[in-house]
Symmetry: C2
Subunit: 243 residues, 2 copies
DNA sequence: GTCTGTGAAGGGCTTCACAGCT
DNA sequence: AGCTGTGAAGCCCTTCACAGAC
């Protein structure tokens, strides 16, 4: 959902794993399922089982995994623990990401407390806000720091990922400051498009857009049901009569 | 990011607008920009301007809009107000969606207070939770109700969209109950895959997956920079010397 | 001349079917 | 026999280039 400008300046010299964007998104999902399987003590899993749990077709899953090189054993299945490690490596999760979060409003607070981050190798190392009422309070085990000290503190924190959870009006300036301290990965919850240098990856999560997409397919389905639901019933009857 | 099984049972009889999924996602973005333009008092906008503000190419934007039929005037541009209405209609936002939210933890609270919903035609009509400590409290102007009264209350509320913001362990059962009260659009923040009937659209937002995708392209970029960044500098030097 | 609308070419992702290993 | 790995076909989407309206 984020633009992938496919880096026109890419000189094709160094290329790590060349994995399709869509596959990367699903690898993250498989990882979740695999972690659950590890906890259950499952040792081997087949592509059918894994695909079912992840909600995709088994062929698609095998194709996805094929980008990591041979990971399974034919006639048997996949070694759960080994596959999990392999995916973590491919996604770069072995590097131990340090996350700074800017904006500790209600959304920021929820994110800081979200257990899914820590459990998957993302350590939140800093919380920042400009509101004096929030600075100094403790959220999710961390003390909220003054945005005025942001640049200085980041020298120590050395963050690899920045999260933007501030109001729209200041989102771009926060983005610039993140870029200024050399953060190359930014996750923004501000609804607008943010401009950043080409070598900085910005992903945007817009909750209203998710809702609007639901609204579209929803109105399509409702419509179809109010019509074809009945139509299907009629056809079924007609078919029954006719045959 | 949600599966689109492309409705195998679709008899092709009734078809509303036949708009590509990817386009729908962007239409929602254009809508945001257009709303901002309306507030600024802008009357006419060109595809270049609109595309720049939305962060896409102008050709892509025009292609997207072409699915709505002729919406602009050649040699002039688009009527901002008219285009906004046209998109709202296409997305089914004119129907006034009623949203019920289940799970009022820190995430649920943040969502309930999120101003972007109300401002775009989504009215939150009910908050539910099973935790006695939360039931009865007021969040975002609404009183949190007991999950035990869910089915009964929904008869009155007649929700069109359901939001799931509960822990993983109960997400599927909440999903089933939403389906039970005839909600056909579900937005889930639980990390796992949820099963639902075919005519129910489930979208999932997994924050950890967004992070992991960042991690991937991030490690790819960092790598590339540590190598090609320097290489590029060397090449620039070499080029300067050579020319 | 300017800017929109659109057929056509191109690229990426999905699906299928089957070869290949155990 | 069972299950993985993978070329090939097909589909959807993006990009290009230009015809067409003002």
């Amino acid at each position: 959902m984020t633009e992938q400008p496919s880096a026109p300046g890419d000189s094709g010299a160094v290329r790590s794993a060349d994995i399709p964007q869509a596959t990367v998104a699903r690898l993250a999902m498989y990882l979740r399922v695999l972690s659950a399987l590890v906890e259950d003590g499952t040792l081997i899993v087949s592509s059918d089982e894994l695909a079912l749990a992840a909600g995709v077709g088994s062929a698609k899953l095998r194709k996805d995994l094929s980008f990591l090189g041979p990971t399974g054993v034919r006639g048997v299945g996949y070694d759960v623990a080994r596959l999990r490690e392999r995916i973590e490596l491919a996604l770069g999760l072995d590097q131990g990401h340090r996350v700074v979060m800017v904006g500790v409003g209600s959304l920021g607070r929820a994110l800081a407390c979200y257990p899914g981050f820590a459990s998957r190798g993302f350590t939140i190392v800093g919380l920042f806000d400009a509101d004096p009422a929030v600075i100094g309070t403790v959220v999710g085990g961390l003390t909220v720091e003054d945005m005025a000290t942001f640049e200085t503190r980041c020298l120590d924190l050395d963050p690899t990922i920045g999260v933007i959870a501030v109001p729209e009006s200041v989102a771009q300036s926060i983005c610039d400051r993140l870029v200024g301290v050399d953060v190359r990965c930014i996750l923004s919850f501000a609804p607008q498009f943010l401009t950043a240098p080409e070598n900085v990856e910005v992903r945007r999560v817009d909750l209203a857009i998710e809702m609007q997409m639901l609204s579209f397919t929803g109105s399509r389905n409702t419509w179809a049901n109010e019509a074809t639901g009945d139509v299907a019933a009629h056809l079924a009857l007609a078919g029954a009569v006719q045959s």
